[in-house]
C-alpha cells in the first residue's frame, strides 16, 4: 500500500478498539508488567537516586557524544572489531547487506533489536535474498505472522497464547505437542536450534555501547542473543549512537533501571558483553565482528527540543502505563516505536506530516513521565510536536477556525460574557431534564456519553446578581 492509501491512525485505532482479543492480550501483558514493576520498585529503596543518576549518565554522554563515539571506535577497533558509520537507515541497511554478501551469507540469524526494525533491516534482508531467522521467540512469532512488533519489549504481545498455538501448529514440523506454553517453547526451540547452528552471519542490536572497552552489551531472557552472536562466522551489531555509556559500571547503573522498569526483574537472565571477534585460544566466537553505528536523526535531536528523548533506554514502561496504548495496542501507532515514546520518535523518523495524529492522541495525563526511569518529560515533548504542527499549518481548517473564534472571545472578557450567556441559555433549553443526550456540534462527546446541562445562568451572571455588583469593566 502507498502512503496515501494506507489506513490512517483513526482507522487503525478503530480497528484495534473493535478487537476484543487484542484487548485481552494487551491487558494480560501490560497488567502483569505494571504489577511486577511496582513490586520491583517497592524493593528498590534507592530507586529515585538511581533514576537521577541514570538520567545524569545519559545527559552527560549526549553532551559529550563526539568524545565517547571516538573513544568507543578506538577501543572497539583495538579489540579487533570493525566500526562502520551510517547516517541514515538506508545507509545502515546497505552496510549490513554488503557485509553479509562479503561473508557469502545465505542464512542469517537475528536477535531482537528495535534499531533493526527502525532501519527496516528485516525487509532489506528479504529484498537482498538473504534468509533471515529470528531467534527471539516473540520475533519468531512475528516473522511467522508476517507482522511488525507491537511493543518494544514483547514484540508479539498483541497475540494471545491461543493465537500463537495456531501459528505454530500451521508452521512447525512436527507441531507442538499441545498449546501449553512449555510445549510451544519446546517446539520453537526445536525448529530454531538447527538454524542457529547453520547460519553464516548473526545480527544483534546492543543495549549498551561501552566506550572505555569498546564492547557491546546485549541483555535477553532467552539466551538467544548468545546463540546469534557466537556460532556464526561473522557477528554484526547495529546500534543507535545514543546507546553509548562511558564504562561498564555506567551500563550496570542503567541496567538496574532498565530491567526493573521493563519486566520487574532485578537482572536479565543473560547479560553479555561482546568485545571483538574470537581471539587465539578462545573456545568459540565469530571470526569477524562489525559494529554499525546508526545516527538516523539522532544528532539532529541533540540540537532541538527533543534532546531529552535521547536518554530513552527502551524499557517500555511508558507504554505499559499509557491509557491510550492500553486501548489500541502498538500497531495502531503505525511506526516502529509505539506508545508515548513512539509518539515522540515517530515524527522524528517518519516526518510530522505522516504521523501528526500521534502527539495529539494523548490525554497529557503524565503517567508515562512519572514511570520513565530516565525522567523523560514525554508530555512536554508531545506538546512541542503540537506546537510545531500548529506553526506548520498542519491543523485542519475546522479546528483552526474554531480555535480562532474561541481565542477572539477568550481575549475579550465582556464579549465572552455575552457569548457564554447566550450559549448557556441555548444549552439549558436542550438540557431541560438535566442531561443532554445529543448535541449536533459535539457529536464526539454525545455519541458515547451524556452532557450535563448548565444548572442555571453562568457563574458570572449569578455572582453579579448576588453581589449586586456591576462588572467594572466591559470591553
Amino acid at each position: 500500500m502507498t502512503a496515501t492509501t494506507r489506513p490512517g491512525f483513526k482507522a487503525r485505532s478503530d480497528a484495534a478498539l473493535a478487537n476484543p482479543t487484542l484487548k485481552t492480550a494487551i491487558d494480560r501483558t501490560t497488567g502483569t508488567a505494571e504489577r511486577k514493576r511496582a513490586a520491583a520498585l517497592a524493593r528498590f529503596a534507592e530507586y529515585e537516586a538511581a533514576r537521577s543518576r541514570g538520567s545524569a549518565i545519559k545527559d552527560h554522554v549526549i553532551a559529550n557524544l563526539d568524545h565517547y563515539l571516538e573513544m568507543f571506535e578506538r577501543n572497539a577497533t583495538a579489540s579487533g572489531a570493525k566500526v562502520h558509520w551510517a547516517a541514515t537507515e538506508s545507509e545502515a541497511c546497505d552496510i549490513v547487506i554488503r557485509l553479509c554478501r562479503e561473508a557469502g551469507a545465505k542464512r542469517v540469524t537475528r536477535s531482537k533489536s528495535m534499531l533493526g526494525e527502525e532501519i527496516g533491516l528485516p525487509d532489506a534482508l528479504g529484498s537482498a535474498g538473504i534468509e533471515r531467522v529470528e531467534t527471539d521467540l516473540a520475533e519468531h512469532i512475528i516473522q511467522l505472522a508476517g507482522e511488525h512488533p507491537s511493543h518494544i519489549i514483547w514484540p508479539a504481545m498483541h497475540r494471545t497464547r491461543e493465537q500463537v498455538a495456531e501459528l505454530f501448529n500451521a508452521d512447525h514440523k512436527p507441531p507442538p505437542a499441545d498449546d501449553e506454553a512449555a510445549s510451544m517453547v519446546q517446539s520453537a526451540r526445536h525448529v530454531l536450534r538447527e538454524k542457529f547452528l547453520s547460519a553464516d552471519v548473526g545480527i544483534s542490536g546492543a543495549n549498551f555501547l561501552i566506550a572505555d572497552t569498546g564492547a557491546t552489551c546485549t541483555v535477553t531472557n532467552e539466551g538467544n542473543a548468545e546463540l546469534t552472536t557466537t556460532p556464526p562466522r561473522v557477528h554484526i551489531v547495529t546500534a543507535g549512537i545514543e546507546k553509548l555509556v562511558p564504562s561498564t559500571s555506567h551500563a550496570m547503573a542503567l541496567l538496574r533501571l532498565l530491567v526493573r522498569s521493563a519486566t520487574g526483574g532485578e537482572l536479565t537472565q543473560y547479560t553479555t558483553f561482546h568485545c571483538g571477534p574470537k581471539r587465539p585460544g578462545d573456545a568459540d566466537g565469530p571470526e569477524k565482528m562489525h559494529i554499525v553505528l546508526v545516527d538516523n536523526g539522532r544528532s539532529e535531536m541533540i540540537a532541538n527540543e527533543f534532546r531529552d528523548m535521547l536518554r530513552c533506554i527502551r524499557c517500555g514502561a511508558c507504554m505499559n502505563h499509557c491509557v491510550v496504548y492500553r486501548q489500541i495496542g502498538g500497531h495502531a501507532y503505525g511506526g516502529t516505536y509505539p506508545g508515548p515514546m513512539g509518539a515522540v520518535l515517530t515524527p522524528v523518523l517518519d516526518g510530522l506530516a505522516q504521523s501528526r495524529d500521534l502527539p495529539f492522541a494523548c490525554t497529557m495525563n503524565g503517567r508515562c513521565a512519572e514511570v520513565c526511569p530516565v525522567e523523560i518529560p514525554l508530555p512536554t515533548l508531545l506538546r512541542a510536536w503540537r506546537g510545531r504542527s500548529w506553526r506548520a499549518g498542519l491543523e485542519g481548517a475546522t479546528m483552526r477556525a474554531g480555535l480562532g473564534a474561541w481565542a477572539g472571545l477568550a481575549r475579550r472578557p465582556g464579549l465572552y460574557r455575552m457569548a457564554s450567556g447566550i450559549g448557556v441559555r441555548a444549552l439549558r433549553l436542550l438540557g431541560r431534564s438535566g442531561w443532554i443526550g445529543s448535541l449536533p456540534f459535539a457529536g464526539g462527546w454525545t455519541r458515547h456519553r451524556d452532557l450535563p446541562g448548565p444548572t442555571g445562568g453562568t457563574f458570572m451572571e449569578r455572582y453579579k446578581a448576588e453581589r449586586g455588583k456591576r462588572p467594572e469593566d466591559r470591553r
Partner: protein, 255 residues
Amino acid sequence: MTDASRPRVGLFVTCLVDAIRPEIGFAAIRLLEDAGCDVEVPTRQTCCGQPAYNSGDDASTAAVARQVIAAFEPFDHLIVPSGSCAGTIRHGYPTLLASDSEWGPRAARLAEKTHEIMSYLVDIRDYTPDGLRLEGSATYHDSCAGLRELGIHDQPRRLLAAVDSLEMRPLDGENVCCGFGGTFCVKYPAISNAIVDEKADAIERSGADMLLAGDLGCLMNMAGKLNRRGSKVRCFHTIEILAGGGDGPAIGEKP
C-alpha cells in the same frame, strides 16, 4: 480595611464552572471565606487557555495568559477549583513566556501564588471543615494534572475525612486517567470512550453512591458516561461536598 491575617484571594472560576456548574464557584467562595480569606472574582477572566495550549497554538495561549496575569497579579493568591487550570497557570505560563523579559517574570510571580483550592485550604490555610455530615459512601478519583503537576493527593482525602458519616471507598486505578484530556476527547472520541468505559467499570465496582473529584472536566466525562450506562452513581466536585452541598442535585441532575 486591610487585615494582614486575611489574605485577599482572587477566584479563577474556570470556563467550565462558569458555564456548566456555577455551584462549584460558590462553594469555593464559601470555603475560602470560612478559611479566613477575602474573596474577589475579577471580571477580566475567561479561560486559562488550555484549548489553545493543548492544540499547540502558543500565541493565543500567551495572549490569554497575559490577560490572566494582569487580572490576578494584584491579589495575594490566585485560587482555582481545578488542578488542570492551576497546573497550566503554575507550569504552562512561565514556560510559555520564559523568553519574554516583561511577562516572563510576571508569569513566574503569579505561578508562585497560584493554588488549586483543596491544596490551598490544607497546605496554606491549614483548614478543616466543621460540622459536616453526609450519609452515604463515596469514592475519589485523582485527576491527573492535580496529582502529577501539583502533587495533590492527601489534601482532598484529609478534607473529606472531616465529613461525618461519609464512608470513603477505594477506587481501582484511582490514579489512572479518565480519558477526558480536554480536546483529546473530541478529537479521538472512540479512544476516549474506551478509557472512560473502563473507569466507569471501576467506579461501579467500588460500590460507592458518589464519585468525587477535583476537576469539572473529568467529572463531566465520568458522570456523562455513568449516566449513559444507566448507573445511579452521583457525581460531585469535592468542594461541593465540603461546602455542604452534598444534599443538592449532583452533576447532570435536574436542579
